[in-house]
Symmetry: C2
Subunit: 352 residues, 2 copies
């Protein structure tokens, strides 16, 4: 079990800036996120799409914003716990919180900052009765180790970026894309419409024409099993004709959907799945638990990243007296404060 002063739940832009603001007040933070990387919704839903309303960044992609914020928090050396969701949060007799995650991380902390946005992202799963028993052997909802699919008869399900990109990556006709190649790639989608970059869509069409990738339009309505193995899918096409599709491996890339998850069970005041907070400290009704960004609500709330940034500032100042009860907490400016310069690891400039 690790002891810490603060845990930030969510490594999206607001969670990252929470780490930064805590750092300026000399509060070290651990960060938990369900995704394998920082950036949250920005990275998951629009990594390449421009955002235009971050102050001072007239145009910035989600990925760039995440990278910029990661650089900004680097001096404070936050500890990231990726690919896990918080499964329980319990007040201890000494007033601290014991927080546990789905992968067994245990953190004993004085304060918690919920920056979980719309909730933890979870892959959309294939809804075909009984097929879940092949999860992890022949059925996968993320790529994980690409070697798993090498030289296999692979069916990829999906119509968006991830499905298109991995179909091309695993296709032997595109040698430059990825070292691991499947023996055969079939892309299965409910209609013949795909979403990806223009370049990838052009490559995909050529691959269909050259039969380098098989296109199957339809929905999985059942499967065939033999000797405990998944050997074929039953695919029903738009004309309601059902055919067998043989396979070794099934990779389902239907995107992610957010789930609020156990946050709903922590005794916090909720209003339409949002956590109610005050506007002085952005504290929930439980002292020591703060909520910032899209997951909170208060009069006037707008779900914008720039508003979340402000909430982080006031939440950090709200939390500081709980961590340093005997210290007077002063607002200092990064432009002028030698103390903050030391924390940020920036040298004095020659003209200082």
């Amino acid at each position: 079990m690790t002891e810490t002063d603060a845990v930030v739940i969510g490594a999206g832009p607001v969670g990252l800036f929470q780490v930064f603001q805590l750092g300026l007040l000399e509060i070290k933070a651990h960060v938990v996120d369900s995704l394998p990387y920082a950036g949250g919704q920005c990275m998951e839903l629009y990594p390449d799409k421009p955002i235009y309303d971050i102050p001072g960044l007239p145009i910035c992609t989600g990925q760039e914003l995440a990278e910029r914020l990661l650089r900004q928090v680097a001096p404070f050396e936050p500890v990231f716990h990726y690919r896990q969701v918080v499964t329980s949060l319990a007040r201890q007799p000494d007033g601290r919180f014991l927080l546990e995650t789905s992968t067994g991380t245990r953190l004993l902390t004085r304060t918690v900052f919920i920056a979980a946005g719309v909730g933890a992202f979870q892959p959309r799963t294939l809804k075909v009765e009984g097929i879940e028993r092949f999860q992890g052997t022949q059925l996968f909802h993320d790529v994980g180790d690409p070697a798993t699919f090498a030289d296999k008869n692979l069916v990829i399900v999906g119509g968006d970026d991830a499905a298109v990109e991995w179909a091309l990556n695993f296709c032997a006709a595109h040698a430059d894309r990825h070292p691991h190649k499947a023996r055969r790639v079939t892309l299965l989608h409910r209609r013949d419409v795909f979403r990806s970059s223009d370049e990838s869509l052009t490559q995909l069409r050529q691959s269909f024409e050259q039969r380098a990738i098989d296109l199957v339009v339809g929905q999985i309505t059942g499967f065939t099993e033999a000797e405990g193995k998944l050997v074929a899918l039953k695919v029903t096409d738009p004309d309601n004709v059902t055919r067998d599709l043989a396979l070794d491996m099934l990779l389902v890339l239907l995107g992610v959907s957010p789930k609020l998850g156990p946050v709903a069970d922590w005794g916090l005041d909720l209003e339409r799945k949002q956590l109610q907070v005050d506007t002085e400290k952005f504290s929930t009704n439980v002292p020591g638990i703060f909520a910032v960004g899209d997951i909170n609500t208060y009069p006037g709330k707008k779900k914008l990243i720039v508003c979340g940034f402000h909430e982080c500032v006031l939440a950090a100042f709200g939390a500081a007296p709980l961590i340093f009860p005997d210290k007077k907490i002063l607002l200092q400016y990064t432009t002028t404060s030698p103390r903050l310069h030391a924390l940020l690891g920036v040298a004095k400039t020659a003209s200082d």
Copy 2:
């Protein structure tokens, strides 16, 4: 008289972002500022010093921040009224506000956003009885047109950046610095300590040694007039000896000091010179007048630029129903909204 929907008082970072947020809601804004350029305190007090706590900008000078925000507001074509302060603000019978400035600009507006920071910046003036009568002929508190000082016997008063830079600029020994040269440059400061960049300070010391610039340490305690002209200053040195210093022109560059000014007389609730606002709309007690940034106060207030940015968002949404009473105001996202893309003048991306 110009009719408009919004006037923003103050062209600092927060005033500029107020213009941006109003623009996203299709509200055009006029901006009034006492300085000759945008950027406010950032430009005036620390143009070259890094700021480290703007989210997504790990390091950024005040000048760079101002430039970035000016680029961001450009699509909304705000009208800037520089070098003037708001001298009166009066509610009209139709509910609008008539706003007048020190240079005669008259704006009839539905809403006002006070983003005036610590107040309007005004040059610190020379406090010597009677000398003010030479203001504009031989006494100046800013450089204005440098040709005014060409070939003159010039005394510059001050010890900071502006005084040092202009002493070097007007000095014939530094031909590369500026086209206009004085006949003689004297730098007058109360002590032999100057603040500027290392490079400029080195140049200044060399200029003193080579007698290219005269250094006089002391304070102006009087002056001599002949035929209606200022012909000499009486300068008292640290040993209390007073000497005459002949001159043609006197350029006083003592920096600026902020003045809250007439804002104090507009019937707005004040608390220690700060405007009291709510945290839902950042409205003052006068409907239609909002206050954002360092000039406002509310429970939890921190005087940080990032907090001002958030306040702009909620103030814009607070103002929109006053400007468009019959329109439903929706929050749209710059990443996805075609309407906002059109307003921002950004083309659809190929993959949309």
